[in-house]
Amino acid sequence: MHRLIGKVALALAPFAALVAAGPAAAQVEVDVVGGISAPMPIAIPAMPAVAPANTAAGNTVELGKQLAQVITNDLKKSGLFRPLGPDLLRPVSFDQVSAPAFDYWGTTGAQSLVQGYVRANGDGTLTVGCYLYDVFARNELTRQGFVVQPADWRRAAHKCADTVYTRLTGEGPYFDSRIVYASETGPKDHRIKRLAIMDQDGANHRFLTNGQSIVLTPRFAPNQQTIVYMSYEGQRPTIYAYDLNTGRSRKLVSSNHLAFGPHVSPDGRWVVFTMSIGGNADIYRVPMSGGAPQQLTNTPGIDTGGSFSPDGTQIVFESDRSGSQQLYVMNADGSNQHRISFGGGRYATPMWSPRGDLIAFTKMTGNFRIGVMSPSGGNEKLLTDGWGDEGPSWSPNGRVITFFRNGRGSGNAEIWSVDLTGVNERHIPTPLGGSDPNWGPLRP
């Protein structure tokens, strides 16, 4: 496992002491209802190397350009920025990192400037410095330093992008995070599905299972080391837990009944899932350590898809007890079940935002679309308009949703993301097809 080694204070010569943050002239207006007025122009030149050096991640001079490119891509895909990346900008010298040429940057049209540097340390690690400036006010807004193993160099870039994004938008960070999903390949009637994991931008892709058994609906545990999922191993479809440290899976629910759709509680202690007994699907929970399932719902309909509120006290799920699939909320012990969706059509796959303010879902009215509503059921808003959009999962800051998009006819599935404005839709590249994406928490 690769761990970010840590943040460092950037107060070393030749850098000036941290300037106290004054009133910020540059601030992105985020309006989740009506979209944003205009993305903020921001300059991200290549990061100079303190001294050219060869590392396990390549030469530091080349690395400095790649770091700036990853930051550029992150900010661009957020939809809130219009970055000028390293390919469009003249390089800066190491001395300029803490003393920007504001006169020049003013001529580029950029409102903000991200500069940084990369240094190869004696112990084999890399230090990446990250500085954010307000070009109009000609002052520093924030700075961060990150020490990483060379293999984790992209994480330093994501952390820098998160620093910039957070400072300028007031939203929480999300770029340094991963997505687990079901990789798909092969004909529609014999599709091979493998667990796979990647960074949120599609980089560092890795397969976790070999495809001998169908795997569905992987979901991160809060510890980010465990992934719960459903597998058809031995033709007995049930819930397993995959450990990213050991690369091993263990059976979490030992039952002869069909079990699927696991979700982990925010404290990591429980896994809620669906078990179908005699054709009647209800929601159960089982301790993460294993043990006997406890039943939470007991109605003669299909109850499935239980996602926890961020405080762990409530669960949103879907049920067709009324005659069609609708969304319901209950307490974590199964009490106080009440319906929250009342619009036309069927509602499925609810996921509670990590911010707590919204519930994402799949809405079926002929087409399958991704939408959000408040936990009390109001303020419904549809974000996508695909033929087969399904299975939303929230970014760590609750502003972006990943989902999968099924192609009509081919059935080929792709991973996409959309933000709460509904206008910023992005395809996340994967080596093969992909479905059931689950966005993990922000990495430590």
Binding site: P237, G278, I302, G388
Partner: protein
Amino acid sequence: MANMTAKLAIAAALVATAGCAKKRPEVLPPAPAETAPTPTPQPTDNSNMVQPGSAQDFKQTVIDDTIHFALDAYDIDPEARRILDSQAQWLVKYPNTRITIEGHADERGTREYNLALGDRRATSAANYLIARGVNASRINTISYGKERPIALGSNEAAWAQNRRAVTVVIE
């Protein structure tokens, strides 16, 4: 609804009669401009070599190994009853055989709901066979949800073929 299913199945078993006029077409019309999956070749001229009580014998003897369902439904209609009756007859004749009933759904439902729906359908078929005298211990069910369509198109004809329960004799 599960209880209701069981009751419906038993009621259906009680009213089921042997003589039905309409025979199910062997193959449903293929989806326009799309290839239907190739059926498993069946030996035609050497049926004397088929082992009585084998999976092949089952497939040749029963009306169909597959029953179909209406949209978002899991009740056994008269057509399905006729098919399951023929399956039950064979299963009663060979009491040492075991079967798996695979429940399937079309692609116009969400993944998890469809897993539950496939289980409902497989259970419906199993309950019917049990009501017709097949011992429950001989029947295993598995739901594939929308993971294993048999018709590949995205149209009503393909979806109708994919909403199904398939009886497979375990060899």
